[in-house]
Symmetry: D4
Subunit: 256 residues, 8 copies
Amino acid sequence: MDAIDLERIARAVAEGDLTPADLIEHLRVESVSDLGYAQVDNERGVRTGVSEIIYGEGKTPSQIAGIVAAMRDAGQRRALITRLDAEKASSLQVLGVDIAYHERARAAVSGPLPDADGNGEILVLTAGTSDLAVADEAVLTARFLGNRVTCVHDVGVAGIHRLLSHARQISHAQVIIAIAGMEGALPSVVAGLASCPVIAVPTSVGYGASFGGIAALLGMLNSCSSGISVVNIDNGFGAAYQASLINHLKAREHDI
Amino acid sequence: MDAIDLERIARAVAEGDLTPADLIEHLRVESVSDLGYAQVDNERGVRTGVSEIIYGEGKTPSQIAGIVAAMRDAGQRRALITRLDAEKASSLQVLGVDIAYHERARAAVSGPLPDADGNGEILVLTAGTSDLAVADEAVLTARFLGNRVTCVHDVGVAGIHRLLSHARQISHAQVIIAIAGMEGALPSVVAGLASCPVIAVPTSVGYGASFGGIAALLGMLNSCSSGISVVNIDNGFGAAYQASLINHLKAREHDI
Amino acid sequence: MDAIDLERIARAVAEGDLTPADLIEHLRVESVSDLGYAQVDNERGVRTGVSEIIYGEGKTPSQIAGIVAAMRDAGQRRALITRLDAEKASSLQVLGVDIAYHERARAAVSGPLPDADGNGEILVLTAGTSDLAVADEAVLTARFLGNRVTCVHDVGVAGIHRLLSHARQISHAQVIIAIAGMEGALPSVVAGLASCPVIAVPTSVGYGASFGGIAALLGMLNSCSSGISVVNIDNGFGAAYQASLINHLKAREHDI
Amino acid sequence: MDAIDLERIARAVAEGDLTPADLIEHLRVESVSDLGYAQVDNERGVRTGVSEIIYGEGKTPSQIAGIVAAMRDAGQRRALITRLDAEKASSLQVLGVDIAYHERARAAVSGPLPDADGNGEILVLTAGTSDLAVADEAVLTARFLGNRVTCVHDVGVAGIHRLLSHARQISHAQVIIAIAGMEGALPSVVAGLASCPVIAVPTSVGYGASFGGIAALLGMLNSCSSGISVVNIDNGFGAAYQASLINHLKAREHDI
Amino acid sequence: MDAIDLERIARAVAEGDLTPADLIEHLRVESVSDLGYAQVDNERGVRTGVSEIIYGEGKTPSQIAGIVAAMRDAGQRRALITRLDAEKASSLQVLGVDIAYHERARAAVSGPLPDADGNGEILVLTAGTSDLAVADEAVLTARFLGNRVTCVHDVGVAGIHRLLSHARQISHAQVIIAIAGMEGALPSVVAGLASCPVIAVPTSVGYGASFGGIAALLGMLNSCSSGISVVNIDNGFGAAYQASLINHLKAREHDI
Amino acid sequence: MDAIDLERIARAVAEGDLTPADLIEHLRVESVSDLGYAQVDNERGVRTGVSEIIYGEGKTPSQIAGIVAAMRDAGQRRALITRLDAEKASSLQVLGVDIAYHERARAAVSGPLPDADGNGEILVLTAGTSDLAVADEAVLTARFLGNRVTCVHDVGVAGIHRLLSHARQISHAQVIIAIAGMEGALPSVVAGLASCPVIAVPTSVGYGASFGGIAALLGMLNSCSSGISVVNIDNGFGAAYQASLINHLKAREHDI
Amino acid sequence: MDAIDLERIARAVAEGDLTPADLIEHLRVESVSDLGYAQVDNERGVRTGVSEIIYGEGKTPSQIAGIVAAMRDAGQRRALITRLDAEKASSLQVLGVDIAYHERARAAVSGPLPDADGNGEILVLTAGTSDLAVADEAVLTARFLGNRVTCVHDVGVAGIHRLLSHARQISHAQVIIAIAGMEGALPSVVAGLASCPVIAVPTSVGYGASFGGIAALLGMLNSCSSGISVVNIDNGFGAAYQASLINHLKAREHDI
Amino acid sequence: MDAIDLERIARAVAEGDLTPADLIEHLRVESVSDLGYAQVDNERGVRTGVSEIIYGEGKTPSQIAGIVAAMRDAGQRRALITRLDAEKASSLQVLGVDIAYHERARAAVSGPLPDADGNGEILVLTAGTSDLAVADEAVLTARFLGNRVTCVHDVGVAGIHRLLSHARQISHAQVIIAIAGMEGALPSVVAGLASCPVIAVPTSVGYGASFGGIAALLGMLNSCSSGISVVNIDNGFGAAYQASLINHLKAREHDI
């Protein structure tokens, strides 16, 4: 159960659609489901606002199916599985797991996507067409976490006017995800134009001395612009997760 | 002129303390002051909400003094100078620049610090006592940008109960800056406990195979926790800058 | 002949089940069997307590078969072959070598596993489900060397309470093997809780800036916790080998 | 209070030299002493058997003095401060902290060294005379933690008979610390001769492509010998700590 | 004797100011002056159009003085000494070598600077004030080689309008030298705006993961813009040399 | 429309073959064609003299086809697609895109190659036969951009007389592209013989410590010869692009 | 024509079996055969004593066939082709090139192997069975160049007595090739025992932090033993070539 | 006692100048002198032909003095101390050790240099004047080991005719030491011209992407020329040692 579900149930109780006993029932799950090969963290949604997300790499289809089942048993209505290749996705479906598979994003969603409810919009920018797969992972993750998302692709710095022509979108975004391979210069220019946080994602697009994304990663870490933080190479998921946290922030109690 | 000043002036006009002509006078500066060795970006505050900040490394005291003067001429009441060693700070004072120097943070502030006005509080965590210098840079930057800040030091993961005993502060923060050298594991544990964004700062604390902070940097980029983004090694300034952006976010127009 | 067999035979002589001549016969082998492509070290078991173990990578099935035969000729009743892919394992069986193949561990055992006889128990911890293959190599090796082993999987630091709920096992272990990819933070937290040695194994689980396990390796080498030593990336075998040495230590003569 | 003190006090109570009330008094300390710049972990000794050790690098003399005082207030009779240069050691003495400074080991001890009480002896081997500083840190740490230690210096593999002439010491050690710079081959040869665990310490001795100890570190991690684990470059302290844990192991309960 | 001198003398012969015998006299020097510690390449000017330039690093003042003298003996009227620190420059002057020393460029010129005679102008752009030293080396070298040079400093991509306001200079340059540290994004944006070649110079400005200029170097090598080539980190000299070759190109014979 | 077409049309208007209205019609295209996955930069040809070139890696055949169509709609008669493997080339042809595919160069050209019109000739040198693929990419690119090209292959420095026997070609070239893998020494020797700029291309030819071209790249960046600048590993395209810019330079206005 | 053939022909002339005219005929070949894709260096044998050897990687079968034919036309009776996979070897045979293919060495020989004629014997040592492929390349190359070779395999330092039992061979060798992967310690121990030069060959045998042979390479470069020099990773050919030069050295004229 | 002394004594006995008893007396030393901090290997000279050489780095003056004394006690008449800075050399002299100090070589010799007795001459080539210090270490070492040495400096590949003009020396050398920093291309060209072995020494001369000699080291390891082997960065000593072994080789017994 994540923050969205918790709020929905709480509201239902307040409005009399559910009884307090129903609420307790929903919350009464073991904090950890021990599957032997995995310890599913059922309290994560309550603790951090977002349920556990399944990293598909290195897990067998039957392990993934087991985790999805355990999460469902613990009351979680939806699940996101990342780094999932097409073959494993098919195996999952053969195993009876009901997922929608997104090939370019290499990710699958089980259950319905929630309505968007953040404070504003996440703007996803890519430097080139070759960065689309990483962008797709970010977009799917952001939508899974309840965000509105706008994309502008292929606005790398080699043709700076292509980027400048989207200045209005840049200045209206709540948070920006800037995705680039090669030299990774896009976030530097974007952060100089924006007044919101920029999450930079280096991609492994490039060859030779790009070293599978290291050039872009270093470029982003050493940006001359302020307002940028960086996630791992090709980590569209991580960028969207952080962007979603930012997009859902409420002003908090001051008296810590 | 940064966002804080702009708002102050606009309010003064609204309240009749300033005339519209005064407002125009304040805004009438060249967008760039060309000093030969530097192009001071006077519109930055209006564009991104924060005035230009001076990176002291590699600049002579007289260059820094010239930039501070140009910023002041353009109506900016306060300036932050980072990466400033004690010797240059003294030279600046000899040159008549009025600064308060913070030795451990290796930074100086010209003009008064603003009142804090963010949505919540920034929590700064350090793994060890040796990370204090980086934390100080972050704290000073955050205060310069109008944020309330709380610090908890020396809560590295080797004694996990020291961190767990601050769980309440972690769950109440608007945004967390987690600073660690050596293996840089602190942000991974913190992000598993928090429901707000965590900005991770690797430090160059360590020896041998820490490679001046690379071990910590890689650890943070590869965190198994979600909700973390990373800045450059020892970049307390950059972490605080982004944390401040996050802490000052207002819900924005949706119709981009 | 390894320490276990040597002890068994010696006891048999003591109990009259074997004659001294039998003992001599067992010990009378060349110290090295020269196969041309390999020099099988027959005295290794007597010298270090553990017979030679066969590293399967880069050897042909017929070379491996030859080495197993030479070891058997020299009186060694069991053999462990590591880094053996499924195809080579099949070829070995076709060649008439009697092995039990463990696919996920990518290792095979010839002959019976010994009874466990160490001082205590080896606890194997993994950060995530994707680390299971490395753990399996460690577990098989440890059992081959005569140890009792307990495993707890998927207790990475992102959900710290999953780890803390196994505190009793941690405090009772004789030696702990902590296996993790990505940022490799698990051993740091474990060593802060344990009073026994922790052998850390970085895995190649991760992507981008994990660089095939380097991030985890560096994290473990730079741990802020004491009581950790590290083996090569994905080297479950090496960790188990040293853990077994530790688990079998007897107090020794002081007058060196 | 570490394991040695705890045992001493418990025995005194059993023998009537102390009352149970005295024992309670000794244990009644805050689990953490919060000094602002440091959180001293007072329960560490009880939890892991060894009190916190102070990493001197990056701490000011007055911070170190404060931590020593807090530890003493919490009942800890001795303290080890590592990575302490001579200048800071003098400042500490000026501040009234009573320490014995060991220059080559770059470490200081406050309070008396304990009697040795491990199961056997730790053997410290160095490849060359230039590795002595790292060895000294290891020896001092091992003695501080209650171990008997023997050293054999300058037995690098270039003159293999120098090492072989110490075969008896190698075969009698409870645990071996093998220290080497340059190509770091010493532990490989030693582990082939020993039947106890070998903790390998790469040193930064060398030049050019030794890269400050990386060559030795990689050599040790990739050793063709079994029974080796590795600590950080120049980390004599960490090796001794791990060796001490091993040397003090008691057979534990099996029923985890 | 370099291309400029050769042309001057040839013209003088053509105009009758010098006799053919004078020309022969000027050309009659040994092709190499062997000084023991150096082999001065006297034909280099004739072969490549530019005389040898002296790399000051690692040479003693007296060696440099000897080389300058040998070049002068061979008819070369001017010399450029790069990577020369202030102390060595003073020593040279004490040794009687007549040089003009340029401190920020860390270079000295012996003899008069030539008149500029290239096809157009070299435009030197820097990303930040801290890149000025490298720019100065480039400017001095370019002037030494007979080029007109214009500089625009501090036009890094964080404030993209600062760069765009110099679009006319960019479109009129014959060749551009773009100098940047940190992420090194400047050349990417410039090459997207320019129709002439861009020589990119990474600088060691930055900290942490800039790794002394590697981040900028990789950024430039992996630029998404076309028309860029790169020289070594901080190599203002090399960039200017290449730019000068380009700026002096004449259309050549086609029938190779 | 690139510089060649623009000049052709302008001349046609001047000669009465086209009306001014025709010219306007040709120029009347959107500056950017937004295809969703790509922003085709139609003004690039006017701005930099060369139309956009399509980087084939990471793009699907249908994306490439869409971009080619958009470029054609915007009046561009020819297109170069680089990093295009044979399979994608076939798919493109199946999709009806009219291309000539060059397998060894891994590139395709749509439309006719232009007549050569540069100031001189580009000389392409390779160190070994294994560098031919990179050379082919360079040659095709240079021809696509309107240059005459000569190639001399297999003149690596191990047999220096092979290179010296081409001294006349080296001294007559307008610009040289020197391509080498392994230690990448070719450009150093060539630049010592040439009086024109040398663009150095490291290739990934080699094994072991060549690290996929890093050894050659570093060799070229650190060349002891002047007059060399470097492009990315295996980047024959980038070298030819810059060489073409150099080969087409006209003397420009001085009054910037 | 290499040194062996040249000597043979010269002797035949001396003994009247060939006429001086025959000798001239044999020497009358172009110094370079220009095949377009390759410049075959026909004088190499005369100049360096060894004919050109063909590096098969990156060359097509027909290119290789062309080079072999050109060498034969220039009077070279035998050819060695290295880095040749089995598929290309078959293609060569289909093309009618008469070669003997050695699969494990991945090399082929055209023409007869010469009689051995060096000063002594080359001893090839390997650390493990997995290093055999590299050893085979070395052995074949050494035999092709006219050397007697002895091999001892699997004498890595983990079982030092296996190496020591070959002390007599080590002390009698004219030159030693020591081949090892993993930590690469073998040459260090060997050079401490030998009085002849040791050529060290790191191999890519290993995993994890062996980084494809870097660990072994660094270990060998930083050896604490004297008398070692190193070739590239897996470069059995290069080691044998150098060893052959050493094995064939004659005392030379002193009056250089 | 090294090979030279041993031969001298043996001859003296043969000629009646010494008695057999004298010979025995000379040989009667402990094989190892144990100084606590060092194990002096007294049999090394007999075993490998060269006595131990003292690596000065990281040793104190009194340790060095002790080792020299022990070697002298064991009958060694001369000693070479490398990596010895001027300050330590003075301290040694104050301690009464009789040495001749060579500042640029950073090495000292105790005792007389021997007469040269190798088969031929060692030729030392440097690429630039800045490589002289490394060359000096090589020259001194070679002379200490009984070799004739010729030096040619500053013949880097940027002016290839400078190198070619020394072709005769190259073709007459018994063994060549080629020393170069920056891109390290010198050995590649030299080995293409020579028929003797080339020992390549990379130096740390250079800046930026030379990475303290890595660029040169990689260049040499990946040389396209055959007949090269490589030693550590700046390791003039190691190159000379290997060259001396080669220069002193006698044809050996074949019947190993």
